[in-house]
Amino acid sequence: MTVNRREALKRVACLMGGTLCASAILGIEKGYSATTSVGSKAAILRPPQMAIVSAVAEIMIPRTDTPGAIDVGVPGFIDLMLKDVYTQKDRERYLAGVAELDAAAQSEQGKKFVALESPQQIALVRKFHDAAVVEESRLHRPHAHLQRPFILMTKELTLLGFFTSQVGATQVLQYVAVPGSYHACVPLEQAGNGKTWAVQPGIEF
């Protein structure tokens, strides 16, 4: 796992560099539809910001025995969502949050976030994450009124981008396009392979 994470972080680091690295990270090689229109260049996130966002997404959903957030192109997905789905106010809050995380790395560890060792990065992400979860759980607000902070927007978009990707839906979860029948109550191991279904009943109606 550690090896995987290091590998992933190396891929993050190469975001600072050339387009070949960038296309790998943006998921173009994986044919992830949400990111293909981005091209090799991010629209909103500048390279240093993209490096931080990529590292945070990969900390949240790392490569394990199955692919992780970077493998399926979550960073490019986040950039696209920031560009087309979110408002200017959301984007400003998000980018301020990226800067805040980097500033915390600097003040607590004396280094930029991407220069931290993996455990330090994870600890910092966890600290921001847990505080934000406590705060947001207290609010009970509808999604549209949350004004989610950077760390939870990243979590939301990482979950969404990852589990709606082909890899996330079919290799990590399980997905059947045309089930053909409905079995209301079966032993878990007889429900396909027993993993969570990628598409739940009730999402669309």
Binding site: S33, T64, A169, L173, A177, Y182, Q200, G202, F205
Partner: protein, 560 residues
Amino acid sequence: MDSNSYDAIVVGTGISGGWAAKELTEHGLKTLVLDRGRMVRHGDYPTALLNPWELPYGGRPTAEDLRHQPVAARTGYVGSQASKHWFVDELDNPYVEKQRFDWVRGYQVGGRSITWGRQSYRWSQMDFEANARDGIAVDWPIRYNDLAPWYDHVESFIGVSGSAENLPQLPDGKFLPPMELNCVEKQFKQTVVEKFGRPLIIGRAAHLTAPLAHSPQRGTCQFRNMCIRGCPFGAYFSSNSSTLPAAEKTGNMTLRPNAIVYELIYDEKRNRASGVRVLDAETGAQTEYFARVIFLCASTFGSAFILLNSVSTRFPNGFGNDSGELGCNIMDHHLDVGAGAFVDGFQDRYYSGRRPNGFYIPRYRNVGKDKRDYLRGFGYQGSATRLDWPSLMHDTALGAQLKQKAVKPGPWHISLGGFGEILPYHDNRVMLDRSAKDKFRLPLLAFDAGLKQNELSMRKDMANDAAEMLTAAGFRDVRPSDNVIGVGLGIHEMGTARMGRDPKTSVLNAWNQVHACRNVYVTDGACMTSAACQNPSLTYMALTARAVNHAVEELKQMNL
């Protein structure tokens, strides 16, 4: 007969218009069927087969999408990348909100029959008697027995899966095999039945759980639950998969999309509507079409618009509006109120396939001996599922642990939401605002309608009863909810041209004919005299089939 003359004209191709087209053409009438939207043939469902990763933006609407569909977004689901193309561009189709009003429209051939929720319940004798019993509004001019054979007729054709339950407040119909409740829903049912004496049944839904011999173009339900995108299997009822193909087969239908009917042509000498005036949505060209009988099935507010916009010396305040009730008595079902809970246990049980249906708790308030401080009641729709990754937003797990949690089916969660009856209030109304125009230079509809004390009192029960039943079932973290809504959000809008016995207080008679002009029938939601709490589409279909049968008889008798 010139090329613009027909036996019958049907305005609209949604749930009601499709039925009018089928019945009229099957009776041999040359019928012109007009829809203001684009052509959609069965199978023209561009997103129907897309996998999750083939929808852009994880399926979410973009900021630009939201700019074009801000009202649709209030539903929280219809504007997704999977279904946004079935809903109007609201910038091109504005309306005026004197109070928040949630008008969710689908302008295309098939209308909202493509995107409807497919829940199909009969109304009962109690519902048709309600206004008379409570002494409010006006009495329905018909009773359950007038409609029962037409419910049979409609159900047999569209295919409704469901279970016979012998409930007086929710009559049984002609059912295809029911879908199944899952284990948690069955446990909940036991509590609801045994501790509260209330029924809980599987939803009655217009899905084929068995083939229909008369509609070989329709297949059985594949349990994809992507119905809102249009079903390439034709497994749920829509005009596109069912009634329009039947009408087409007769050779008697002329279907014209992009045809905006904006006015009825009134022949004062003969006291009849001689036809309709149409704007071409693409070219703006104006055409007149003529027929012996006209069916308005343009949706509750679509039909209200046409009637309000059809003024003449005889009808200075809108077509057939001698009573002053045209545009009034707007109803809907108020919703977004109920409760949810977590369920311990059943960790070793799951489901496979995606059931496009849930459970239903029929109305029990103000039924039999139950008496509340408000009139009427509500039903609940709900389901139990095992939670998945969206529920991990506030979970503290991160990294490999988060992934593992997402891979393992989460705890069971059950929720139920009420659908409450809204009373017909004269001052819940829609008017024409002639000071504002849309891009076709037609005046705008202006809505002024809201929930009142009866609905607000009912909502307290809708949240509390749901929480009480979930608590009694032993579920944990029971959370009631009651969100602010606008009238219309139920997308069950009704009223505006109600049926009644007296032309002085209603717009339509017992056969859906305009009292003052008998060759115009209005059979969509506009005709409703009260709203009950059941999903209304099945009743529109039955009323339409009944009205067509009447029109055909009247034509034979030379009464129209």
